[in-house]
């Protein structure tokens, strides 16, 4: 556990030694607030609720979270530190988990910095804080799955930009998948599968303030599976 935290600390240092960590937090805050207050015409709707605020986050995260995950392995490979890191006394799961925790720490910081938004809204009327908590939990789980998927993609390449583009595409598709059954008429089974796969579909119930174990299960699977595959990828790379 100690060593996992060492890696996490190193990655967090890396995020904030370069502009990428600051930029992520800044863009996240500005985009969330601006889109919510101005685009979603919060003031015109005249209701003290944050569903609009949170409904923006899945797509926003699909576009900007890959900026955090793209470097995790691709940069190590590019700089030649990949091999070096693997000759340090770490197990693969420690490395993968440490990097995942670093990404989540930055996301966590960004989310904490949005707390003024619900606090401010609560000044205008009675805000259901229980719902706000599940909404935050939903975003955190969504980010967790996205961070794991992003890290997996980064482990396949030595080019950060490729990792970024592929991650954005995959995450955006996973998000927009929920729109497909609405736009096109699909057989019930197929629609069910498409919905199950979609990140957004599972996120929606959180943003309604509903905590469903199936959604929880989905996000946990979508976090653990990519992390596991990342660790295996590294191990297999060394057998070759």
């Amino acid at each position: 556990m100690n060593r996992t935290l060492t890696i996490a600390r190193k990655e967090i240092q890396g995020y904030f030694n370069s502009p990428v960590g600051w930029l992520f937090v800044l863009v996240f805050l500005v985009a969330c607030s601006a889109l919510f207050f101005f685009m979603q015409s919060f003031f015109a709707s005249d209701r003290a609720e944050l569903r609009g605020f949170f409904s923006l986050m899945p797509l926003l995260l699909s576009v900007i979270l890959p900026a955090l995950t793209m470097r995790l392995w691709a940069e190590e490979k590019k700089q030649g530190t990949y091999e070096f890191l693997l000759t340090m006394p770490y197990t693969e799961p420690e490395l993968v988990l440490g990097k995942y925790l670093a990404t989540m720490a930055v996301v966590g910081l960004a989310l904490v910095l949005t707390f003024p938004v619900p606090l401010m809204v609560s000044l205008f009327g009675a805000l259901d804080f229980g719902q706000v908590v599940t909404e935050y939990l939903g975003v955190l789980l969504l980010a967790s799955a996205s961070a794991a998927i992003g890290q997996l993609i980064s482990s396949f390449t030595r080019h950060q930009i490729s990792a970024f583009i592929v991650s954005v595409i995959i995450l955006t598709v996973l998000n927009l998948l929920a729109q497909l059954p609405i736009l096109v008429e699909l057989p019930a089974v197929l629609a069910g599968i498409v919905n199950w796969l979609s990140l957004n579909h599972h996120f929606i119930s959180f943003s309604r303030g509903v905590l469903d174990s199936r959604d929880l299960f989905y996000f946990i699977i979508l976090t653990l599976a990519p992390l596991y595959v990342t660790a295996r990828t590294i191990v297999f790379g060394r057998w070759r």
Binding site: N17, Q79, G80, E83, L86, M88, P89, Y90, R238
Partner: protein, 324 residues
């Protein structure tokens, strides 16, 4: 202590290391010498636990790399080829990260870092970002990183590449002092480095060991260990073809201790002889040449004995393999 037996490493269909065995004891600096692409780096990558061996075994202080790579990694210090570093960190941040990764107790970290910086000449560089360092200083950071946890085994892949002559001398003396109570393996294709640093040499070509031992042993084990270079003045009344190349050669070879004989007639009635002797027979060969010259009434003007330098051995061993 490093014990490697029958190590094989394949990348896909390509066999980079083909059955290498050697032992490197404590207090030794062992040089892995070979042309580029010979398999030196691959051997080191296996020893550091980065690559798993395809077959064979590598024991580092009696721990099998393939069985417990994490334990091996803890007891090894490794300077990788090209010195990859986290360039966005400062020297201090980087060495802190290494100390933590090596799980040095927090109380000992500062002291270990200070000591490593001292030995590698990094005093006062704490807050410099690695990306702003010159190649020589990066090399030192890499070396400081490798010795930070005082490992029993040091593996250095081309430790002096890219350094200026002064830095090379400094780093070499550091490695020499480290070699006193550690096992050090270093790879290089610089022959002087091996002669200057290593107590033992392993010459590798195309994934195989072609020679192994101290530099003197390797030289001795080779056929035609010594070369004799002679200059002879022929008697004034010598018959025209009494000293033809064929006759001289035959006469000298008849002694049984001279392998090959190259004869070159010079102006002024002189002959230059280039002789290769069998292993350990240089004394007898020199005596045979002297005896022959006396019998033939020749004057021996010059008789020089040349041991094969490491460079010649290297060319002979790796060049021959390449021709095959």
């Amino acid at each position: 202590m490093i014990e490697v037996s029958n190590l094989v490493k394949r990348y896909g269909g390509f066999e980079a290391v083909r059955g290498v065995s050697f032992v490197a004891g404590t207090g030794k600096v062992v040089g892995l010498l070979g042309p580029n692409g010979a398999g030196k780096t691959t051997i080191m990558k296996v020893l550091t636990g980065y690559h798993r061996p395809s077959s064979g075994q590598a024991l580092l202080n009696d721990i099998d790399v393939a069985v417990d790579p994490v334990a091996v990694k803890s007891s090894v210090g490794y300077l990788a080829e090209g010195v990859p570093l986290y360039t966005d960190m400062t020297v201090r941040e980087y060495l802190d990260f290494i100390a933590e990764s090596r799980q040095l107790p927090a109380a000992e970290r500062a002291e270990a870092i200070a000591k490593a910086c001292q030995s590698c000449g990094l005093k006062g560089m704490d807050d410099v970002r690695i990306e702003h360092l010159s190649k020589g200083f990066r090399q030192r950071v890499g070396l400081a990183q490798a010795i930070l946890h005082d490992p029993a085994i040091l593996i250095l892949d081309e430790p002096t590449t890219g350094l200026d002559p002064n830095q090379i001398l400094e780093i070499r003396s550091l490695i020499r002092s480290l070699g006193v109570n550690k096992t050090v393996i270093l790879s290089t294709h610089i022959l002087q480095e091996v002669e200057a640093l290593c107590s033992e040499v392993i010459i590798i070509n195309e994934g195989r060991i072609v020679a192994q031992g101290t530099t003197a042993e390797i030289a001795r084990s080779l056929q035609g260990e010594d070369r004799l270079d002679c200059l002879v003045k022929l008697p004034a009344n010598a018959a025209k073809d009494a000293f033809s190349a064929a006759k001289v050669g035959a006469a000298l070879r008849a002694s049984g201790v001279i392998g090959s004989c190259e004869v070159e007639a010079l102006s002024g009635g002189k002959l230059r002889l280039k002789l290769l002797t069998g292993a350990g027979q240089a004394d007898d060969a020199a005596a045979a040449v002297f005896g022959w010259a006396k019998d033939q009434d020749c004057t021996l003007l010059d008789l020089r004995r040349e041991a094969l330098s490491l460079e010649q051995i290297f060319v002979q061993l790796t060049g021959e393999e390449a021709k095959r």
